[in-house]
């Protein structure tokens, strides 16, 4: 009888130990908070298109890890990554006085990387959101007015869990840094607002 109880307890303990959340996929929203800035748009019309050019981790935005640092279940966004970036860019443009629509210059973004990884520390860890975007601004006639590669890292510091929400936080921070890098560049704003300026930049 005691052996049976022991076996049952051992089995239960195995399920508890092995049935952790690292083996279950997370699907999370990426809730971008607009950075905002000076009203520089003056009602200029801008259209935004975003394409997914990721060459790795194309179907997920992160992976959970276990105590050994092994990649476990996938963490996915609850909608396509290009839609998330497009909405973030449009929000930033509206906040700066641009109007989203056809007829003006167009901002074309390519998502090269959108992935959060987890770093383990002694007492806590960090989530690092790797965001790489390629931005091109075209005039209404199709002339390239601006081109830049933006590579930034967002961070959710001092976390305890390699969870979907922490991965999302790191990526939101990365998106904010990417948007700041673009909108802090006078050439980008000039290309959107006055499609006569030509600028090329790389960072």
């Amino acid at each position: 009888m005691n052996i049976r109880i022991g076996a049952a307890l051992a089995a239960a303990m195995t399920f508890v130990l092995l049935g952790g959340c690292a083996t279950q996929e997370d699907v999370v929203p990426i809730s971008y908070k607009a950075v905002g800035g000076a009203q520089v748009g003056n009602g200029a019309t801008v259209s935004v298109t975003v394409e997914d050019s990721r060459t790795e981790d194309r179907t997920r935005i992160s992976n959970k890890i276990n105590g050994y640092g092994m990649e476990m279940a996938a963490i996915r966004a609850n909608r396509p990554v290009p839609d998330i970036i497009k909405e973030a860019m449009e929000t930033e443009l509206r906040n700066r006085g641009f109007v989203i629509g056809q007829g003006g210059s167009s901002a074309k973004l390519s998502v090269n990387r959108f992935y959060a990884s987890f770093k383990q520390g002694f007492f806590s860890g960090d989530a690092i959101g790797d965001v790489k975007l390629h931005a091109v601004v075209l005039s209404p006639s199709g002339q390239t007015l601006y081109e830049r590669q933006v590579n930034v890292e967002g961070k959710a510091a001092n976390i305890q869990l390699a969870s979907g929400s922490n991965a999302a936080d790191a990526l939101v921070d990365g998106m904010a840094k990417a948007m700041s890098a673009l909108f802090d560049d006078p050439a980008f704003v000039a290309a959107l607002a006055k499609p006569t300026t030509t600028a090329f930049n790389n960072s």
């Binding site: 022991g6 303990m13 790795e56 179907t59 050994y68 640092g69 092994m70 990649e71 476990m72």
Partner: protein, 186 residues
């Protein structure tokens, strides 16, 4: 009861595990899964933290794996990019556990630069702890290269991973072989 619980928890703590988080971006057509044969293998990219021999190890493991699992007649080209590799730290593995990780992409095309017929994100981790765990995870580059190739077999051709070939260790260095050799000489 306590003995069982202790034994079980010790086993769990010392045991390692293998996890694949590979994903199919574009699955192979059913006819090519059955009838595909990999003609050319190109390793386009390897991480900078690997040894100079790693590319050769990958090519060798991929060739062995493809010969095992793609046994049809329709020629395909395999392009592989390994984008991330992390080998375990033996001391860390013994003390608190560690893992070997490899990530990359595998793309199958019709031969001679034809259409892409299969596209996969490959990711495989092996984690373990204790002295046994550190031994299991030794030769990280060889073992992760094998794991990567086995994942392609599974994803692209629906074949179970094949058995890892024995490393090329001179027979004299293996106790059992040297005993047999000595017996044969006698």
């Amino acid at each position: 009861m306590i003995r069982i619980a202790l034994t079980l928890s010790t086993a769990i703590l010392l045991a390692g595990c293998v996890n694949s988080s590979s994903e199919t971006v574009r699955s192979m057509p059913a006819d090519l899964m059955k009838n595909g044969k990999v003609a050319a293998i190109t390793v386009k990219e390897v991480p900078s933290n690997t040894s100079p021999e790693f590319r050769g190890k990958m090519e060798s493991q991929l060739r062995q794996a493809m010969d095992h699992c793609a046994t049809g007649t329709e020629p395909l080209d395999l392009e592989v990019s390994v984008t991330d590799f992390k080998g375990n730290n033996a001391a860390k593995a013994i003390l608190i556990g560690d893992s070997n990780n490899i990530k990359g992409q595998a793309r199958l095309r019709r031969a001679n630069g034809g259409d892409v017929v299969g596209d996969f994100d490959i990711a495989r981790s092996v984690g373990a702890g204790g002295i046994a765990g550190a031994l299991v995870m030794s030769y990280a580059e060889d073992k992760t290269a094998f794991g990567f190739a086995a994942e392609i077999c599974k994803r692209a051709f629906g074949k179970a991973p094949y058995t890892q070939p024995r490393r090329n260790i001179p027979p004299d260095t293996i106790g059992r072989d040297s005993k047999r050799r000595k017996a044969a000489q006698d």
